[in-house]
């Protein structure tokens, strides 16, 4: 008898589950996975041999892991190289490749502006934008201090102490 009772009380494996009704808040709030990084406004600084180009890295997000919901910093290609190296060493992710260095373009007899050529800069900009969006979107990369410093601090302190970001 008790067995029978037990059987009657036990739900069948294919019984329909009643889902919990979704709250209005959950249903209609903007999704919490908003992360948008634009690499834009390339500017070439300096003169002649000491020239270099940097880009604005503009970030907008609602992810809790980022301290600032909006930030804008300027970074050059070598900064990206630095970031890539840090992440490769410390995080467990397979870091995507950066757009190419401009070695071929820097040969002396080559015409044009070389690595300050508009077309080259635009190609590089696109590549950098793709790179940073992929990287910043990865939860494991989001744990690394170097990424946050790269994205949201005005200057990169290369003498920093590498480590993980403490989740609050």
């Amino acid at each position: 008898m008790s067995n029978q009772q037990q059987q009657q009380q036990q739900p069948s494996a294919t019984q329909r589950l009643q889902p919990k009704k979704q709250t209005m808040e959950d249903a209609y709030s903007p999704p919490a996975n908003f992360l948008e990084i634009d690499v834009c406004n390339p500017e070439t600084h300096g003169l002649n041999k000491d020239r270099y180009t940097d880009y604005e890295i503009r970030l907008r997000t609602n992810l809790p892991v980022f301290k600032l919901k909006e930030s804008s910093v300027r970074r050059r290609y070598s900064d990206f190289e630095w970031l890539r190296a840090e992440l490769e060493r410390d995080s467990k992710i397979v870091v995507p490749k950066l757009p190419g260095k401009a070695l071929k373009l820097q040969l002396p007899f080559r015409g044009g502006d070389g690595r300050f050529d508009d077309e080259f800069i635009e190609e590089r900009r696109k590549g950098l934008e793709e790179f940073i969006n992929k990287v910043a979107g990865h939860p494991l990369a989001q744990n690394e201090k170097c990424l946050h410093m790269f994205l949201q601090e005005q200057t990169i302190d290369k003498a920093y102490v590498p480590g993980k970001v403490r989740t609050t």
Binding site: R16, P19, M24, A27, Y28, P31, N33, F34, L35, G137
Partner: protein, 746 residues
């Protein structure tokens, strides 16, 4: 594997790519559909399902814009009909496919799986396999598996379309588990909430810079969401009670909580359009309450105006019972509008006015005899505009247009200008407009009066009316007080000497003059409506005096249109029994016409004088001697000399000549009272006239015309000579001599 953030999810579709992508997808569909149908012909169901699955797989794409996706969806769902019909046929012939419902769930990808499940589920319902209630619940729940906004919206639309005719529509379950209307309501409401959720979520998909494009795409898809409400309205078993207690609260809950302006705007409008007006009347407070809780970006005024207009139309439709008396419709909306105005400090003046216009339309439509309602709305409008600090209303602005619309409503719907005069707040509102628009509305009112033959029976009302349309009556600043000061004086038409308009030769442009002519002739025609009725001569006279006084302030240009009607109108009323009154009337006319003459409108004045003379002549007095004698000598003389004077001032010499000659008759056959009925026969004066006419004729340039004039003069002379045969005197001889000299010239 990288975590997908939103910005990477959906890149903006480029138009040329779209065409190519769509074409590719469509050709796959056509191919697979062909194969599917071929397999069905051969009764190879499993193979057919495989092809169907392939075909449905095209709907898994993320690359198509909503427009392209829609086209693809339409083609595919058309083809799915074939499958459904085949299955229905098989089932009805008793060839049930075992466990088909379970079978299709083995499809690998969720999109083909769910589309197939819906198709099969509906077949099961139509063939009464398994419980209808269970299947419906299963289908609407399963669709949760697709959370991608575009794909999810179309999937749920497919569900809605397929189940169109199988939703239970009865109060009680007919068989066990066949479901009742409550189940249908739950089904549709759940589908609606999920679709609204996906629709709202669409705005967050993709890069911030694409926001406007996404909003446009959302607008293109709004009908998908609205179809749920349509489906609810098609369930006949839903009555007012169920609507009020179950349906509307659930819908409003979604609308208010989604906090999305686009969705709120559309869904609220949809509710108004889709459900019957009786339902709206029964749920007015709930609906209006929700309106107050909407996102500030929603143009609530449009929603309100929609609702007000719909209910007005409902109440005034032929055969309708009108609004139930226990629903104070006007008060509800009045309050609601006031609340909106309070809560929206940035409400523009034209929005304020258009809201009030809708309310006015309601008052005029539903509560036609409540003048106080309309006046109240006008009062609110006025004070609302004051609060917003509106001073000058630019002629071509939206505000001007809206205000004009509002002011025309009472004119059109009452067709009785006298009611307008009773509204205390109509004129202040009208005066806010800029001159051209103000004139336009005033002219509209006057035209309405003419069309409806609205008589103005009292002096007071004439004054009110002319005050209302004062922009037509006089230039702003014309001193009405100065004109009023000499109300009975003969020379009261001062006009505005400063601007030269009193001379009638103002520098206005051609178009200006035409417009003025039109306006004033309108005003002039309206003068004929100033009528107290046939027996009230005293009042009538008073009315016309008032009219003249006010119209006189218009200045020379206007007066030539507006005063003659006053003169004519007053003449019409001369009652031959009232000799004294008659005299007063003629004095009145005389002074008016003198005034006109002063304004250098001699043509007109002359015509009116002569006219006057004719009228006096025609009045059949009891005593003959009162003909023309109602003027005492002292009045007739000025009349005569003025006539001559006016005649000589006519523009063209030939006219002058003829006119002066005609005046000779005045001196001949006029019968002043002193002579007791005998004709004047003032030969001397006659001679003078004719001589003068002769002089004028000699000044004519055209010899032929001159000749003609002289000939006419000879005729006159002969006539008088013959008439005066028997009268001796040098005058007579002088006449005869003149005849010979004139004919000599000829």
């Amino acid at each position: 594997l990288f975590w997908q953030t939103r910005s990477q999810d959906m890149s903006g579709p480029v138009t040329e790519d779209q065409e190519k992508l769509l074409d590719e997808a469509l050709s796959v569909v056509k191919l697979q559909a062909f194969q599917m149908k071929r397999c069905l012909d051969k009764a190879k169901l499993m193979d057919a399902l495989k092809h169907a699955s392939n075909m449905l797989g095209e709907l898994r794409t993320s690359l198509l814009s909503p427009k392209s996706y829609y086209e693809l969806y339409m083609l595919i769902t058309d083809e799915m009909r074939h499958l459904e019909l085949y299955l229905l046929d098989e089932f009805q012939k008793g060839r049930r496919v075992q466990d088909l419902y379970e079978l299709v769930q083995y499809a690998g990808n969720i999109i083909p799986r769910l589309y197939l499940l819906i198709t099969v589920g509906v077949v099961y319902i139509k063939c009464s396999e398994i419980s209808r209630k269970d299947i419906l619940k299963d289908l609407v729940e399963m669709c949760r598996g697709v959370q991608h906004p575009l794909r999810g919206l179309f999937l749920r639309n497919y569900l809605l379309q397929c189940t169109k005719n199988v939703l239970p529509d009865c109060v009680e379950e007919e068989q066990e588990d066949s479901g009742s209307v409550s189940d249908s309501i739950d089904f549709v409401l759940l589908n609606f909430s999920e679709m609204n959720k996906l629709w709202v979520r669409m705005q967050h998909q993709g890069h911030t810079r694409e926001r406007d494009r996404r909003e446009q795409e959302r607008r293109e898809l709004k009908l998908l969401v609205g179809t749920n409400l349509v489906r609810l309205s098609q369930l006949d078993t839903i009555d007012v009670q169920r609507y009020r207690s179950v349906v509307l609260p659930a819908v409003l809950e979604q609308v208010v909580n989604c906090r999305d302006a686009l969705s709120q705007d559309y869904v609220m409008e949809c509710i108004i359009q889709v459900f019957p007006d009786e339902y709206h009347l029964a749920t007015l407070q709930d609906f209006l309450q929700a309106c107050a809780e909407l996102n500030p970006a929603v143009p609530v005024k449009n929603i309100l105006i929609s609702l007000i207009n719909r209910l007005s139309a409902f109440a005034t439709r032929d055969g309708s019972n009108g609004i139930p008396s226990d629903i104070p419709l006007f008060d509800f909306f009045s309050e609601q509008i006031a609340k909106i105005i309070e809560n929206k400090p940035d409400l523009s003046p034209e929005d304020l006015v258009s809201l009030q216009a809708a309310l006015t339309g309601l008052a005029l439509g539903v509560y036609k005899d409540r003048e106080d309602y309309v006046d109240k709305v006008l009062e609110t409008t006025n004070s609302g505009l004051d609060k917003l600090g509106v001073e000058h209303i630019n002629d071509h602005s939206n505000l001007s247009r809206e205000l004009m619309k509002l002011l025309k409503l009472p004119i059109d719907l009452w067709n009785d200008a006298l009611v307008l005069l009773r509204l205390r707040h109509y004129s202040p509102l009208l005066q806010r407009l800029d001159s051209p628009t103000k004139k336009s509305v005033s002219a509209y009112l006057l035209q309405n009066m003419l069309n409806n033959g609205t008589l103005v029976p009292s002096s007071e009302q004439v004054e009110q009316l002319l005050d209302l349309v004062r922009c037509l009556v006089a230039d702003p600043g014309a001193d009405a007080a100065a004109a009023a000061a000499d109300a009975t004086a003969t020379n009261s038409l001062g006009g505005d000497p400063g601007d030269g308009s009193a001379n009638g030769a103002g520098p206005g442009s051609e178009a200006d003059n035409e417009d003025l002519a039109e306006e004033q002739s309108l005003l002039g025609r309206v003068v004929h409506l100033f009528s107290t009725g046939p027996d009230l001569l005293d009042e009538q006279f008073g009315v016309l005096k008032t009219a003249r006084r006010i119209l006189a302030t218009g200045g020379g240009r206007r007066v030539k249109y507006t005063l003659p009607p006053v003169v004519f109108h007053s003449r019409q009323d001369s009652d031959d029994k009232w000799r004294k009154k008659c005299r007063k009337i003629f004095e009145f006319c005389h002074s008016t016409v003198c005034g006109l003459a002063k304004c250098e409108l001699p043509n007109l004045a002359l015509r009116l004088f002569v006219d006057g003379a004719l009228v006096v002549d025609k009045i059949p007095f009891d005593q003959h001697d009162t003909r023309m004698t109602c003027f005492a000598a002292e009045n007739h003389e000025p009349l005569r000399s003025q006539t001559v004077h006016a005649a000589s001032k006519l523009l063209r010499k030939p006219d002058q000549s003829r006119a002066v000659a005609a005046c000779a008759h005045l001196f001949w056959s006029g019968r002043p009272r002193e002579l007791q009925g005998a004709e004047m026969r003032d030969l001397k004066k006659v001679g003078e006239c004719l001589k003068r006419a002769g002089r004028l004729a000699s000044q004519c340039m055209d010899a032929g015309l001159q000749a003609q004039l002289y000939t006419e003069l000879v005729n006159y002379y002969l006539y008088f000579v013959l008439q005066s045969a028997g009268q001796s005197g040098s005058s007579g001889a002088a006449c005869v001599r003149s005849v010979w000299s004139v004919s000599g010239v000829v």
